[in-house]
């Protein structure tokens, strides 16, 4: 598998969010603004990539009987480190994401990739897989967040979590036409369903039609 194909695999064809339906808890919960979505994505990419690399490096010495506990210890340690760093350096983002940072531990994407990919592949390939899957997660949560924030608040804004520098803050829809439902969990489910359906249409348009009764 070429490097690019490996990367794009995680973003489109095996997109963890829309194709594999993994890690939905945090996707639905923190996709209320692109700021939170990107913060969450960075945390997930770091944990996913580093855990993939560590587990791939140790794949030959980890005894098969206790591989899951070992993965959990590695992932939990990484999440805790990321959590402490975020609390220290990006306190606003830490407060906004709240409990969903520690919940990265049980994000199925990470344990899933450790078990399905990193434990069978080289360090380099696992690194690329981590980045690809992480970007797939980012793409999913970002799309969801952009649509929800735009419809619910009428605008988009992005702030540097380290120094609160405002990159941009634009209003596109006048406040009379916003739909507050999209800030609610129900809005997250509706947006998610529509996006997942669209991706499915896109994937099937490129492949051969499925035989009836097959």
């Amino acid at each position: 598998m070429s490097l690019f194909k490996n990367l794009s695999n995680g973003i489109v064809k095996e997109n963890p969010v829309f194709a594999l339906y993994l890690g939905l808890c945090s996707v639905l919960a923190v996709s209320n603004s692109i700021n939170n979505a990107l913060g969450m994505s960075v945390a997930v990419i770091i944990v996913l990539t580093v855990s993939n690399v560590i587990i791939a490096a140790m794949r030959k010495i980890i005894p098969n009987d206790i591989r899951i506990p070992v993965y959990i210890v590695v992932i939990a340690t990484l999440v805790k480190i990321v959590e402490m760093l975020m609390q220290a350096y990006t306190p606003e983002l830490f407060t906004a994401l709240g409990v969903f940072i520690p919940l990265i531990v049980v994000n199925c994407i990470i344990l899933g990739r450790a078990e399905a990919y990193a434990s069978k592949n080289t360090v380099g390939a696992s690194f690329i897989d981590g980045i690809g899957m992480g970007l797939g997660y980012t793409a999913g949560i970002f799309m969801l967040a952009a649509i929800r924030q735009l419809l619910a608040t009428g605008g988009l804004n992005l702030v540097n979590p380290f120094n609160q520098f405002v990159f941009f803050d634009i209003t596109l829809i006048p406040s009379e036409f916003t739909i507050p439902l999209f800030a609610q969990p129900a809005g997250a489910f509706i947006t998610f369903a529509v996006l997942a359906a669209l991706l499915e249409v896109y994937k099937q348009s490129g492949s051969k039609p499925v035989k009836k009764g097959a």
Partner: protein
């Protein structure tokens, strides 16, 4: 599974866990000072107001609080402890910072959030209340504010949560006398003649009469503040039970059966100070009068109207 394998698995997991533990404590040692700094930065201005002579503050992260009122605790090194406490007031949560010095005195009370009724609950943030709290020890009793029972009870409950923690923390013995708060007697205001128009307007219904010899006990519904003011969902009249001597038309007893006006304000008419004025009054006496409770006019008058409804029956 043989012994060798079990030892191998155990050792492997132990090594992984200790490496993780070491890594975590290393990162923690790097980030903990910054996290503490962040926590203090948000409250620094208030902390300096409570302990102006100290610059060295550290958050206390591990504390027990059964009441759930304490949000955070900060230690002012060498000076005392500062508690950020919150309690639901009459309409909105009251958030305060209480400073207690190491010798067990409340050195400061800063009200951070308060949005209760102006003139009533807002008194929690005013000088008389704050001055009555500051300077008290951690075992002294605190006084409620007349007219804002709900808000001041919330504030005192929150302050007491801080004091309880402080006492446990410092090993101070609290005999419990300080935590008992007694509602103050309501203040009486204007005097109203029982025969005046104000007292006899017809907004009352006698719903029950019980004859017992010369005495007759009436149950009377009388519209109070909530009905007269309008706009309240499920507004109901107040219900009184009034006993009259039918021969002399003297009031023998009066009781509040049901109070449907504002809690903490309307229910002051249940106080002995107000109700005892009625006993012994003669219904037909043109000059019979009672003092109504200041700040509780509508509800007080509903009691008087209920009494007057029994006249001539």
């Amino acid at each position: 599974m043989n012994h060798k394998k079990i030892i191998h698995l155990t050792l492997f997991l132990a090594i992984i866990a200790s490496v993780s533990g070491g890594l975590l404590s290393f990162v923690n040692s790097l980030t903990a000072p910054i996290i503490n700094e962040n926590a203090i930065a948000a409250e620094k201005v208030t902390l300096k107001l409570l302990f102006p002579n100290t610059d060295d503050f550290a958050p206390v992260t591990d504390f027990e609080d059964e009441t759930g009122s304490i949000l955070s605790i900060f230690e002012a090194k060498g000076a005392g402890l500062a508690y950020k406490v919150s309690r639901m007031g009459y309409a909105n949560p009251i958030v305060m910072m209480v400073g207690i010095s190491n010798d067990g005195k409340i050195v400061g009370l800063e009200v951070l959030e308060l949005a209760d009724t102006p003139g009533y609950g807002m008194k929690v943030g005013e000088a008389p209340f704050i001055d009555s709290v500051v300077g008290k020890s951690t075992t002294d009793g605190l006084d409620l504010i007349s007219g804002s029972t709900v808000s001041s009870t919330a504030a005192i409950t929150a302050i007491n949560a801080a004091r309880t923690h402080f006492n446990n923390f410092k090993g101070i013995d609290d005999d419990g006398s300080g935590s008992v708060v007694t509602p103050p007697a309501p203040e009486l205001g204007r005097t109203i003649l029982l025969s005046s128009d104000e007292a006899t307007s017809v907004t009352t219904t006698v719903t029950n009469e019980v004859v017992n010899g010369d005495e007759k006990t009436f149950t009377v519904e009388s519209n109070g503040y909530s009905v007269l003011e309008g706009g309240y969902a499920d507004a109901k009249p107040n219900v009184f039970s009034i006993t009259i001597n039918t021969v002399t038309s003297v009031i023998v007893a009066i009781e509040v059966v049901e109070m449907n006006d504002t809690k903490g304000i309307g229910d002051k008419v249940e106080h002995e100070v107000f109700l005892s004025q009625f006993i012994g009054l003669e219904l037909e006496d043109e000059n019979a009068s009672v003092d109504i409770i200041s700040g509780v006019t509508r509800t007080s008058i509903s009691a008087i109207r209920a009494v007057m409804a029994t006249r001539g029956k």
